[in-house]
């Protein structure tokens, strides 16, 4: 009997036993972690030793992020900014993954990764300026709050529609590949993004093109009110990697050291082997989807509370850092106090800063302002002149 055959695509073994591959494996893909629930390193984890400096910076970053989220969320509730998105419960993913990258790696975020930008040096003031949409905002007040973007930090401007950044990430990787740069692309997405067509095509493209992209999926269990059981029926996101010929791993997203270690290795593989890597970071979205959402309407408060306390990524990492003698309770209260002060100050400054002027409505649509837009601007100014009482007084003309 013929044992194997050459079809387009390669040689396959032949079998006379008809067997369907099961829709799910008997066991789910296990989840990599370094620290246990109490912050003790698991001996067999083989994690990369982190220096005191990096560890403290990572922890401080997570604390800063949490405080920033708390205070900006409050600011939205007070009507001072129009919108905000928190990263409660997912601080480790953003900060620790960024710590594992080089500043030359290009980041294409979804929208729940300000931790990456924070690690890279974006200041609280810069965050505030964007949220207030004032003239100091790098986006010139053109995008909603939290749609940060900074070319000097290699952090691409956030675009609201889901998963559009994924094919773009492949394009960026293509560009790096052409230039043979020692850098990779890192792009983030949520569990919901994996349903978009762009997710599938991007993974496929990246594999075919052997593009150095690290795809990081923050599987936090919820896409607004849609739980993952209604998003897909696969074993999460990690199993989808192999379907596209992509090396993948599932990690504990609430474990800062697991995130750090895994991303370090993923990055190395992506660059040296010129291949994409898929990382599924399991976590939980403790906060609401955004300030426009009240998640208690579709999930039990007990569930939220459980993840908020028992699986708090900050508490877990703090225990490890403190046990190493690198952090103390005094450091903790000092940091919280400092950060809060800075945040309140940043908000005050941002609130007082002028909004972008009228001409910024018409610039950057094209590389230079075309005549039809100049004309439209002229008409607008005429209208404002005629009806000054209807034009907001705090927006410079």
């Amino acid at each position: 009997m013929q044992q194997s055959m050459d079809f387009p695509g390669g040689r396959v073994a032949l079998t006379s036993k008809m067997k369907f591959i099961f829709e799910s494996s008997e066991q789910r893909i296990p989840c990599y972690r370094v620290l246990d629930d109490d912050g003790y390193p698991i001996s067999s984890s083989g994690f990369e030793q982190v220096s005191r400096e990096i560890a403290v910076k990572m922890y401080s970053g997570m604390v800063t992020l949490r405080n920033m989220d708390t205070i900006f969320y409050e600011a939205q509730r007070q009507g001072r900014i129009s919108f905000y998105v928190t990263s409660f419960g997912e601080e480790a993913i953003g900060v620790a993954s960024a710590a594992a990258l080089s500043p030359d790696d290009i980041v294409l975020p979804q929208y729940r990764e300000p931790g990456v930008l924070l690690w890279r040096g974006f200041t609280l003031q810069e965050f505030a300026h964007q949220c207030f949409g004032n003239k100091a905002d790098y986006g010139k007040g053109r995008q909603m709050p939290i749609h940060y973007g900074s070319n000097k930090h290699n952090y691409f401007t956030i675009s609201s529609p889901i998963a559009t950044q994924l094919p773009q990430a492949v394009g960026v990787a293509y560009s790096l590949k052409m230039d043979k740069k020692d850098a990779c692309v890192v792009t983030y997405m949520g569990d919901g993004s994996t349903s978009e067509g762009d997710f599938h095509a991007s993974l496929n493209f990246a594999a075919v093109m052997e593009a150095p992209v690290v795809f990081i999926c923050r599987n936090n269990g919820w896409a607004i009110s849609t739980p993952v059981s209604e998003q897909f029926r696969s074993d999460g996101v990690v199993v989808k990697g192999q379907a596209y010929g992509i090396r993948s791993i599932r990690i504990d997203g609430n474990d800062a050291l697991a995130v750090y270690t895994a991303i370090r290795v993923a990055r190395e593989m992506a660059i040296s082997e010129q291949r994409p890597i898929l990382v599924e970071a399991l976590t939980y979205r403790v906060g609401h989807h955004s300030t426009s959402d009240d998640s208690t309407k579709y999930r039990p408060i007990e569930e939220i509370e459980h993840w908020k306390t028992a699986q708090n990524p900050l508490a877990r990492f703090r225990k490890w850092v403190q046990r190493n003698g690198w952090w103390s309770d005094e450091d903790e209260s000092e940091l919280h106090e400092n950060v809060r002060k800075q945040l309140l100050h940043a908000i005050q400054v941002a609130e007082k800063t002028e909004k972008p002027q009228l001409s910024d409505m018409f610039t950057d649509v094209y590389d230079q302002v075309p005549s039809n837009l100049s004309e439209q601007e002229r008409l607008l100014r005429e209208t404002i002149k005629k009806h000054p009482q209807d034009y907001p007084s705090d927006v410079p003309i």
């Binding site: 290009i106 294409l108 905002d137 790098y138 986006g139 010139k140 053109r142 995008q143 749609h147 973007g149 900074s150 070319n151 691409f156 401007t157 675009s159 529609p161 559009t164 950044q165 994924l166 094919p167 773009q168 990430a169 492949v170 394009g171 960026v172 293509y174 560009s175 790096l176 590949k177 052409m178 067509g197 762009d198 599938h200 095509a201 991007s202 496929n204 493209f205 075919v208 093109m209 610039t363 950057d364 649509v365 094209y366 590389d367 230079q368 302002v369 075309p370 005549s371 039809n372």
Partner: protein, 401 residues
């Protein structure tokens, strides 16, 4: 078909070059109007776009004025090409000139593209610079956006323009908007091109006129080529532009033959082309309809009319300077397009002319378009969804009463 495609139209006296500070100049920093001389002797004033590597364009001072059409003579300057070859030449030249230019699309590599526009480019520049992608238009367009934001200058090919409807989100929200929403931090200098328009029994999904749907997207420019000369020039200009440009080619025009200059040239993205100057009526058209119009023009001339035919070329923005001058001269406008009646380029152009040149019109603008139906497969039905020369002649006659 062949009869329609010959004879771009009898040239009359040369058109005077346009002044440097054009009223509706669109986003071009340094302007230098340099007459670009065509071998037939007509001068068409083109402006040279700002280029990062300063290059001297050699204009060949062919002094002979036009008194006859292009009749083939071995001693004539320039070389003959088919339209798809002209596009390929333009692309090839730009890829040689700037290593950042790359091509992304389905079957553009060794297959050379569905209409052979990228023929042999993969051999010359390699598989990475001429990239074959899996079938996912939204994704490879997104990929091009990402590549552009990182400094490359991708040329995206839609195998048929209609398939780019799948890429609408990336074209509209990302190509068009990211320069703006990022506060100017990221530029997207992409070119999106492909064959569109009504072909020969290709069915409704392969007969789309996407310029209708895309015209509202802020941040992009749209141009339509119609001759080998302007095809090459527009391709080069589009690649050099810092803005995302959509270049509309037509399925039925790829085999048009014309003699084009040997020396390098670029045409302006924002200028219309005067095809046939006249006095009685302004006929505005673009792409394949230009040839139906010129066919009708022959009949009209025989009947004693003197139509002015302008190929608008720039679909977004409109070259209202050239168009306005024409309207001020003739006072009657006929628009001939292939778009559907509702929401097409003709509809926008009618509004723009009415708004800007209402005082100069002696009669309401007439717009001939395709009907609001999907293009049928049956040959006779398909023929009648597209504006025919007889209709154009009748419309001019009615307009001139």
């Amino acid at each position: 078909m062949e009869a329609m495609l010959q004879g771009i139209g009898a040239a009359s006296a040369s058109v005077s070059p346009c002044p440097v500070d054009r009223y509706y100049r669109f986003g071009v920093a340094s302007l230098q109007s340099l007459p670009v001389i065509r071998p037939e002797g007509r001068t068409i004033a083109g402006s040279i776009l700002r280029s990062c590597r300063a290059r001297q364009f050699i204009t060949k001072a062919v002094a002979a004025k036009a008194d006859s059409n292009a009749t083939s003579a071995a001693s004539k300057p320039g070389h003959e090409v088919l339209l798809f070859e002209a596009l390929q030449e333009g692309l090839d030249e730009e890829m040689a000139r700037d290593p950042r230019v790359c091509v992304i699309g389905e079957d553009v590599g060794h297959y050379g593209g569905s209409y052979k526009v990228t023929k042999d480019l993969a051999k010359k520049y390699g598989d990475l610079r001429v990239l074959d992608t899996p079938i996912a238009e939204n994704s490879f367009t997104g990929m091009a956006v990402g590549a552009a934001m990182t400094g490359l200058r991708p040329v995206i090919e839609g195998m048929n323009m209609g398939f780019l409807l799948l890429a609408f989100n990336q074209i509209s929200d990302n190509c068009g908007m990211l320069h703006y929403t990022s506060g100017g931090q990221f530029t997207i200098p992409t070119v999106i091109r492909g064959p569109g328009g009504v072909g020969r029994q290709l069915g409704a999904e392969h007969s789309q006129r996407l310029e209708s749907y895309f015209q509202s997207i802020p941040g992009i420019q749209m141009v339509a080529c119609s001759t080998p000369y302007n095809a090459k020039g527009l391709m080069k200009a589009a690649i050099r532009s810092e803005n995302p440009v959509v270049l509309f080619e037509h399925v039925l025009l790829y085999n048009l033959k014309e003699r084009i200059p040997d020396e390098e040239y670029v045409v302006s993205l924002e200028e219309a082309e005067m095809v046939r100057p006249g006095e009685h009526v302004t006929i505005l058209t673009y792409s394949r309809m230009r040839y139906h119009v010129m066919q009708a023009a022959k009949t009209l001339v025989n009947k004693g009319y003197d139509p002015e035919v302008i190929d608008i070329r720039s679909l977004k923005p409109f070259d209202l300077y050239t168009i306005g001058n024409s309207v001020k001269k003739t006072h009657r406008v006929l628009i001939v397009e292939e778009c559907m009646r509702t929401g097409g380029i003709g509809a926008s152009l009618t509004a723009a002319i009415n708004e800007n040149f209402n005082d100069y019109l002696d009669a309401p603008i007439v717009c001939l378009s395709s009907q609001d139906v999907p293009t049928p497969y049956a040959g006779t039905l398909e023929e009648w969804t597209v504006v025919q020369p007889v209709q154009i002649v009748a419309a001019v006659e009615k307009l001139s009463q």
